[in-house]
């Protein structure tokens, strides 16, 4: 079974985000990056399916050269080779344009399965995978938390809201968006890290007409969220003093203890 895993590089979760001068995005210089969380789970699921059924795992990531760190890490964890859709500023493409560029990059690979995370940790559109399925003419399922690829048909467990679940079956090739927590993510081994250095990384460039096409949605302004509540900040930087104050406030002011 040939599986393609789409992985996006995003700003590190703990990074302090600074808004750029134009207030249209964040300052990306000096920022540290990591793989978007649910994409990491998508890779893990792909590796597990391959271990059971054999085949190949191809990781695909899009962005500038810094994206290579996500690719190298995926190869070290066990992906067999990679496709890097290279370009600066691709992060600002709409999900439709991103999916179009990815479709061009992987169409000829004719994968049996395409896996990706359910949404990215930066824009959080939650659309690229589903649109890609549509562009490639594949059936899809989103928010998947269990994959059974051993039968004649693919059977997947989807998460619904409020603790409900549902199984869907479909023929392959298909595209699945994976929910975080589907399984425990493995670490890269030293052997894996060494082996990754010899693995193929193919660079492709997206078509100019995809990159240049005007987007249907444009960010006009980025800002800190308006607070919905007045928060009393306690301790003034001293966590222990804050804790003493907090206990008193909960007792005498909020009267919850």
């Amino acid at each position: 079974m040939k599986i393609i895993v789409l992985m996006k590089q995003v700003a590190n979760k703990d990074a302090i985000l600074r808004i750029n001068k134009e207030a249209t995005w964040i300052e990306e210089a000096d920022l540290s990056f990591e793989v978007s969380e649910s994409d990491g789970y998508a890779l893990e699921e792909a590796l597990r399916v391959k271990e059971k059924l054999g085949g190949e795992v191809v990781v695909c990531s899009m962005g500038p050269q810094r994206v290579k760190s996500v690719i190298k890490d995926a190869l070290a964890r066990g992906a067999d080779r990679a496709i890097h859709v290279v370009g600066d500023n691709l992060g600002h493409l709409s999900p439709y344009a991103t999916a179009s560029a990815l479709a061009d990059a992987i169409r000829d690979e004719k994968p049996d399965l395409i896996l990706t995370g359910l949404q990215s940790d930066d824009y959080g559109y939650g659309q690229t995978g589903v649109i890609l399925a549509e562009l490639l003419g594949l059936p899809h399922a989103t928010i998947v938390i269990e994959v059974d690829a051993s039968g004649e048909k693919l059977r997947v467990k989807r998460e619904l809201e409020s603790g409900w679940y549902q199984w869907y079956s479909m023929a392959t090739p298909a595209l699945l968006t994976i929910q975080s927590g589907i399984s425990q993510i493995r670490y890269a081994t030293l052997k894996g890290i060494m082996a990754a250095k010899k693995k193929e990384v193919k660079e492709v460039t997206p078509a100019a007409e995809i990159v240049g096409r005007p987007s249907h949605q444009r960010i006009s302004k980025v800002y800190l969220p308006q607070k919905s509540k007045q928060t009393q900040l306690l301790g003034n930087g001293d966590a222990k003093a804050g804790a003493v104050e907090l206990a008193q406030k909960l007792h005498t002011e909020a009267r919850v203890i």
């Binding site: 302090i16 999900p95 930066d122 549509e134 619904l160 409900w164 006009s220 222990k240 008193q248 909960l250």
Partner: protein
């Protein structure tokens, strides 16, 4: 010439998903600001009763779009049906609730029109005849105003809580229009939805909840939170990453994929406050947040906050609460 606003009404077996009323309320507000009429659409094989229920709201009309293949939700079926309805109506705006079901098919629908959705909006405002949508980005750390430059229709989804269901205005009875829609091949087969039987803990009844997030750093550190919970007489809960790591069982998870709670006191330890978590606890009475990151979105909804190291604050807080309780 495109005109009007189309609102998608979600249901399961004819039972309304109330988040749809939030989208409907949003549509009514935008409709009056833009002077556009509003049409609601229900999809199904036999949901005439639901169409009648929706017709009691202040709308121009309700479309009851039917096809035998719409009895069970599938992304293929719903996309084909909605594509048909949107092409028939040619609206300016298509608004939907940002539910798990809509997330599953709406990007595919928008792609049929060569575009993406403006997804998961927390509000929309009209100025000089044009609409600006606001979305949360970076897991809730920042807001982004988004405008649409393209041709109609614009597809957008509203996050749960963007509007209140009781904001949806009733009307004098909208006309229900029957529409038989075309649905192509359905490539996926759904089985019946189910709940995991092992859901042993019902946190919705808890008076006090101590919830831990990524900031707790390791499973061993949970003892710290357990001691605080014990002192408070609280139930222990967690954000998703903690349950994903199996430090606590999944039935302790608060948020959109877990339980929704509203205790009188909610203490969030090392929880940044991603929107998926906030929707599960934002209606709590008093919210306390202890987090080292002053920019963490949890502070936006907290009544009391300590910006600092939870490993310093929590033991002191536990001791202080014990003292207060012993004195009381």
């Amino acid at each position: 010439m495109s005109n009007g606003i189309l609102v998608f009404i979600e249901h399961r077996n004819g039972v309304l998903n109330r988040t749809s009323l939030e989208a409907l309320a949003g549509a009514q507000l935008l409709g009056s600001a833009l002077q556009e009429s509003i049409t609601a659409v229900v999809l199904g094989s036999d949901v005439a009763a639901l169409a009648q229920e929706i017709a009691s709201y202040d709308l121009a009309k309700v479309i009851n779009a039917t096809n035998a293949n719409l009895a069970d939700y599938t992304p293929d079926g719903y996309t084909d049906a909605m594509e048909h309805v949107v092409k028939q109506l040619d609206p300016q705006l298509v608004l939907m609730p940002h539910t798990y079901l809509v997330r599953d098919f709406a990007p595919k629908l928008a792609a049929r029109f060569g575009k993406s959705l403006i997804s998961d909006c927390i509000r929309a405002e009209v100025a000089e005849g044009s609409t600006t949508f606001t979305r949360r980005i970076f897991l809730g750390k920042l807001d982004a105003d988004v405008v649409s430059d393209g041709e109609a229709p614009v597809f957008a989804t509203f996050q749960s809580g963007a509007y209140r269901p009781d904001q949806a205005q009733k009307g004098s009875g909208a006309a229900v229009e029957e529409m038989t829609v075309e649905v192509g091949e359905i490539r996926m087969t759904p089985e019946d939805p189910f709940q995991e039987v092992k859901q042993a803990v019902d946190l919705s009844k808890a008076d006090i909840i101590v919830a831990v997030g990524r900031g707790i750093k390791s499973k061993d550190n949970l003892a710290l939170a357990e001691k605080l919970a014990e002192a408070l007489g609280a139930d222990l809960a967690a954000s998703r990453p903690i349950c994903d790591a199996e430090w606590l069982p999944i039935d302790r998870q608060i948020g959109s994929s877990g339980q929704t709670v509203a205790p009188k006191l909610y203490v969030a330890l090392g929880i940044s406050g991603a929107i998926q978590h906030l929707v599960g606890m934002k209606n709590s009475g008093t919210i306390v947040a202890i987090n080292k990151d002053p920019e963490a979105p949890i502070f936006d909804i907290a009544d009391y906050g300590i910006v600092g190291d939870l490993f310093e604050a929590v033991p002191v807080l536990t001791e202080e609460i014990k003292k207060i309780k012993a004195g009381a």
